[in-house]
Amino acid sequence: MIEFRDVHKHFGPLHVLRGINLTVRERDVVVIIGPSGSGKSTMIRTINKLEPIDSGELVVDGQRVHDPGVDVNKLRRDVGMVFQSFNLFPHLTAAENVMLAPRKVRGMSAAEARKKAMALLEKVGIPEKADEHPTRLSGGQQQRVAIARALAMDPRIMLFDEPTSALDAEMIREVLDVMRDLAREGMTMLVITHEVGFAREASNRVVFMDEGRIIEDSPTAGFFEAPREERARQFLSKVISH
């Protein structure tokens, strides 16, 4: 469903992706871990072309992302994204945030979009906040609205870029619960997170990145107990200890 073949990416003199090879199949839930600056975030942002790639091949849902002729907006409809900083639109209510893309991109009627938004807010557990503006919501609630917003376009793939790093413990759980349900329903997901508990329960693969390369790509079962690579082992000992 997603295929990276020798993908490279530079930011000026910085070589941030150094030959990424990765295949993600339908219904895969891939957790990506690694130290900051390892290129995790850049890698998943190339999937919906928020970052263009310099060389290599990247095929997402049958579309070659790096082709000049590719319809980026169409590609992005099929790939939902959730950001660390939520990025809700503060001038819109929770429901309006969810309705925006269906209305503008799909041309859905207001009533229909509203119905869909309510169903999604129900799914993430905060229907009662539908008409609140984001500033009135807690971080966890905001992030759940952001998930609902991404789901509103019926994406086939969901990308999560450290969705819980800006939250405190209580709120982390409510967001992870929603993500776990999504995984259970068979959504194809790429998740950057250091939440080992979530990775164990919900993911089937773990990818460890460092310095722009994928160092290890293993089934979840066993990875946390016995990573093959030394660098992954060192990293895990740091992450799990706290």
Partner: protein, 243 residues
């Protein structure tokens, strides 16, 4: 202040005369804002465009016009306004001085508004446009549905503050012969030789309007306005407080 100069203000005709000027002042200000807002928005988007042929002329217009005294623009259109439009409207066309003044004032105000709008747009966190683009919205849709509604709301206070500047600047249009408030006041005091009294009254009228507007603008400060944006916009406003 001679005591005999105040009783004349008991004559309602004097107030009627000043009121006519005030009405003209308000018309000039409203017309200028109505013209300069869309023009300013266009130039702001032009300056943010990725296309060089849009970006360069927009930048040139904004920076060039802002570097000029607004009175110079008004004086120029006062003298040459009619001639400029004759190729379009025919040899007999006379541009009313009112519109010459509005033209000069709008040219300047549009450049200022363009900078305010641009500052509002670039001050929004990058995540906003990224999130919109990630949802599949096009560049134009992102601007229209996500960026501009936020940026424009962010700018309401700055724009209202700019309106007070525009109202003060209408007094410059009097120099090309439009009978706005200050000009009406000058007509009175050249008749009655009482500039102190008249200017105090006229200044009070400007003060009441502008003070009320700047007070009101503060009420529109929004909770989610990024601090940096507020400061940046204030700076622009500061530089462009003409006259």
């Amino acid at each position: 202040m001679r005591p005999d100069t105040w009783p004349m203000f008991l004559n309602p005709a004097i107030w009627g005369f000043l009121f006519e000027g005030l009405r003209e002042t308000i018309y000039i200000a409203l017309a200028s804002v109505a013209v300069s807002f869309p023009v300013g928005l266009l130039f702001a988007l032009g300056r943010l465009s990725r296309r060089r042929w849009m970006r360069w002329p927009s930048t040139f217009y904004i920076e060039g016009v802002r570097a000029l005294p607004v009175l110079l623009l008004i004086a120029y259109f006062g003298i040459k306004g009619s001639a400029l439009f004759r190729p379009i409207f025919g040899q007999d066309f006379e541009l009313p001085l009112f519109w010459a003044g509005v033209l000069g004032l709008s040219m300047y105000t549009s450049a200022v508004l363009a900078e305010i709008i641009r500052a509002g747009i670039v001050s929004l966190p990058r995540g906003q446009s990224e999130a919109a683009r990630a949802l599949g919205l096009s560049h134009a849709q992102t601007m229209r549905s996500v960026i501009l509604p936020q940026a424009l709301r962010l700018m309401v206070p700055a724009m209202m503050a700019q309106l007070t500047t525009v109202i003060k600047d209408t007094s410059l249009v009097g120099t090309i012969g439009v009978f706005e408030l200050l000009r009406q006041g000058r007509t009175i005091y050249t008749q009655f030789f009482n500039p102190v009294e008249v200017l105090l009254i006229v200044a009070t009228v400007y003060f009441v309007i502008c003070f009320a507007l700047s007070r009101a603008s503060r009420r529109f400060e929004l909770g989610y306005t990024p601090r940096a944006a507020r400061i940046k916009i204030q700076d622009i406003a500061l530089r462009d407080q003409a006259a």
